[in-house]
Amino acid sequence: MHYFLLFFIISASASAELTPINDSNLSNVNGQNGAAIGFVWDNVYATGEDIKLTLDFDSGIPLVFTDFYWVGHDSARKGDGVYGGNVGSYDDPFFLNIQEENITLTDGETITGTTLVTAFPEGSYKGSNLDAGKMDLGALMTLEHASGNTDETWLLFNGMHLDGTYLKSWAPDGGGLAMSGEINFHADELIFQTATIAGAPSNNPNSAWQISEFDLYLPIGHSLYQPATLTISEEQQVIFEIAAVNSNTAAEFYAAPTGSFRADNITLNDWNAGASYIEGIQLQHLKVQTHDLN
């Protein structure tokens, strides 16, 4: 009987040889990487046809947007020549993730909490070469004055991307919403152009404010030393606050990267105002509170 058992084992072993699994095999296994959900935009565009977005305030003077496009960089803005833009890749996607992280309270105590993270691709900040990662965004804003006059202004963001921008949020003790993040905004051109004609803007630099190679990098709070909070007061007012730096958090705060604003060239109609840089921005404390919401 033992011989039969041995025969059985040998026959099974000969057929079911185990082979090592390499990294490329593992990369195809589903579910190995946790709970994050990645997104990529593949050739995405949207153009408005006879749209009307109305924001109506108490004042009775509405703010109206009557045209819109969001297309790939340098695409046509309407019609058959429109093509889309790509945001992210499988290796570097836009993503949502829920994760456990260390969070430092303003008194210096560090706790472990659950955070929700949403982030644009690292893209140019990580050095990856994303195909056509830039997009052009434009909207025609109309302001109807009480006198009956109307102002129209095109807001144009050409070659824009938000690579590296992220927002992390969590629930702090005491209610409200705590968050931290970074804004990384780049646009090849920012144009604010008065529009007296219907349809797409003329791109005539002599009728516009134009900022070339615009970059804004702004850290907003940090989970490890400076949380930002969004709360509602007893008086029903909205309060956005970036916690003040104190002795518990100063060392990490001053060691962190600082914010910057860069515009390589600014033109106002035919007047060239040159380059403008603001660097070393640090928000030691910020508190913004409404006063008239009741």
């Binding site: 009987m1 039969f4 025969f7 059985f8 026959s11 099974a12 057929s15 079911a16 195809n28 589903n30 990487n33 946790g34 994050a36 959900i37 990645g38 997104f39 990529v40 935009w41 593949d42 050739n43 995405v44 565009y45 949207a46 153009t47 408005g48 046809e49 006879d50 749209i51 009307k52 977005l53 109305t54 924001l55 109506d56 305030f57 108490d58 819109f68 429109v82 093509y83 889309g84 499988y90 570097d92 996607p93 993503f95 993730n97 994760q99 993270v117 982030a119 690292e122 590296g164 992220y166 992390k168 209610g175 970074e182 990384n184 709360t231 509602i232 029903q236 909205v238 919401l293 009741n294």
Partner: protein, 267 residues
């Protein structure tokens, strides 16, 4: 010997399966040809209203609210597919026509009841009855933390701590109670030979202004029934902004979703 034969048979069977069922790797080009991956095309017409979506920071007050949300739109040419890499691919519609998308943005808070303000009045009707043979009637007691606080009014047949002889049901209408406790006692007092099986079932039902039953208790054979209920607190909404969107969007491209693992990000 039978056992030996059985094991030998199993060994031969396993060998034959292995020799015939060799596993071969399936590459992506093979997977791409699997039927069912051609995707689904969607056209849709949507007419949707939502009363409100609110964000509440504290349990008893302070809301941000999107009110009276209306979405009437239709789209043509959306697709759902799965890519060869296993990502869910959502193709944007070729055309999205929006007849109306609108909502109001409000800052809201619970408020002290103003009995002179019709918007603050919430009316509920309480029905109390015995489902059995209440020969001597029943007793209905009502109490509550905010009940009868000067802004609450009662109408109709309410009887507090008293026997309503000869009646089998009663009802009352209250306005602006925010918390209420009700007990109904029905007396199963028939002891004669002719009503041995009679039961007096205490039954309480609270109905809102639209005739919808918001809660009820005591339908199944108890003589005493208690019901505690907190009414919705009145909310004052402060208008901030109204948003309306109409028009047509021409769209293209797709958004793909997939498991991304622990993606590193700048921080």
């Amino acid at each position: 010997m039978t056992l030996i034969k059985t094991m030998l048979l199993h060994s031969c069977l396993l060998m034959s399966i292995h020799s015939l069922a060799e596993l071969v790797p399936v590459d992506e080009s093979n997977l791409a040809n699997v039927s069912g991956q051609a995707g689904i095309s969607l056209d849709s017409t949507v007419d949707l209203t939502i009363g409100n979506i609110s964000y509440q920071q504290r349990p008893t007050d302070s809301y941000f609210m999107l009110n009276d949300i209306t979405a009437r739109y239709s789209y043509v040419g959306a697709t759902i597919d799965v890519t060869a890499q296993g990502a869910l691919r959502l193709g944007l519609p070729e055309t999205l026509h929006i007849d109306e998308f609108s909502f109001g943005l409000y800052n809201s808070r619970t408020a002290t009841i103003d009995i002179n303000n019709p918007d603050d009045i919430q009316t509920y009707t309480i029905y109390a009855d015995t489902l059995g043979n209440a020969y001597d009637g029943f007793t209905l007691n009502i109490s509550g933390t905010s009940f009868d606080n000067g802004s609450t009014t009662f109408t109709d047949d309410y009887v507090n701590s008293a026997t309503l002889a000869g009646n089998k049901n009663t009802h009352l209408t209250i306005e602006e109670a925010t918390d209420i406790s009700i007990s109904l006692t029905s007396e199963d007092d028939c002891s004669s030979f002719f009503c041995d099986n009679a039961e007096d079932y205490a039954h309480i039902v609270i109905v809102d202004e639209n005739g919808n039953i918001v809660t009820q208790a005591g339908q199944s054979g108890t003589n005493n029934t208690n019901l505690n209920y907190s009414f919705a607190s009145p909310i004052n909404n402060h208008f901030l902004m109204n948003v309306t969107l109409t028009g047509t969007f021409k769209m293209g491209g797709a958004i793909e979703m997939f498991g991304a693992g622990q993606v590193a990000y700048k921080r």
